[in-house]
Assembly symmetry: C2
Homo-oligomer: 193 residues x 2
Amino acid sequence: MRGRPTIYQDANIVKKAQEVFWQKGYSATSLSDLQKATGAGAGSFYNTFKGGKKEVFQKAIEERLLAFDAFKKELSKSEFPLELIKDFFRSIASAEENEHLKGCIIANTVVEMTFIDDNLEADAVQILKEVEQMFTQAIKDEKLKGNLKTQTDPEILGRYLITFWCGLNTLRRMYPDKNVLKNQIEMQLAVIS
Amino acid sequence: MRGRPTIYQDANIVKKAQEVFWQKGYSATSLSDLQKATGAGAGSFYNTFKGGKKEVFQKAIEERLLAFDAFKKELSKSEFPLELIKDFFRSIASAEENEHLKGCIIANTVVEMTFIDDNLEADAVQILKEVEQMFTQAIKDEKLKGNLKTQTDPEILGRYLITFWCGLNTLRRMYPDKNVLKNQIEMQLAVIS
DNA sequence: TTAATTTTGTAATGATTGATACATAAATAG
DNA sequence: CTATTTATGTATCAATCATTACAAAATTAA
């Protein structure tokens, strides 16, 4: 292939940009921020992403969707899927403070984008719904196997978990503290049993 | 008192500005947005609020704190305080779609401001903690009166409610639907009994 | 009436925004 | 070696950003 070699790989730009978007959100992140974080100048940036800032943000969101898909795949192979989900929640407690403050970029986006950008908002909502669907399915399966005492509708329980996830997204910022979060997570997971 | 009469009352500017901030957040709201919404030009605007955009946002947040104080006062007079809190959650379900999409301006601010403005972030976190404290106290009181079966620590239950509140803040945007929200709210409130 | 005082409206301010233009660098195909 | 192609770096764009400057308007105290 002809042409000057690429220094700034698409995937790398997205990764670095994602970090900034995750912390500052979409609106408060400037092109200057992104250029500083990625190292790429305006030339490389717009040559790689014709859609500019918005396209990069979308790619950053998509990257999270891929991470979710990977988890779902792992879940499908798991012998105790519901335990895997619970352990995922439990693992949140022991995250670094900075991770608590960043929260979940998808949940953040739903909150930020409502009256700002319909496409980005819808993309993020869609992902949260897919996560919810995964929760619901795992609960249904566990119920069929007779491992769940609760009589509550799996759909309600799936929504309960996604609501918890979004609530945790703010609670982590109020209390970026391992013990507080651990107690809270255990209490909320106890509902699913 | 001497001087040209005031057309744009402080309180009115804050009220109108709050509506914009509530929808678009802090960063995405421009001075031009605020001037359009309030009717006040740059002259009046900066004459009234020397602190500019940030001061008005702070005042908009304070207004919500006052609303919370009013609720707390009502609660202190109530015969069944925990029922009043539950009814408050229940009332959310029947809100207009636009109210669902706006969510809670305090919870929104916690999510938006983390890496943007320490003061505004801390203000919003403080308010959520005060709301949590109110929940906790109401639960303690009810427990002393012997009206609560659950053995869970009131502190955990208070945090459970504030987590639910913040989770609902996103769930309402995913499902701005009366029935979905009603079911979800009832299920979550059933934990406090 | 006049002087003092305050608010208002408008016109600027310089800085920053996201995006484009374009010459140059650096590679490969022929 | 040359032509072609692609990526990069820099200069620049118009638009918008939050804020300030300031003259005119509109009141009251004296």
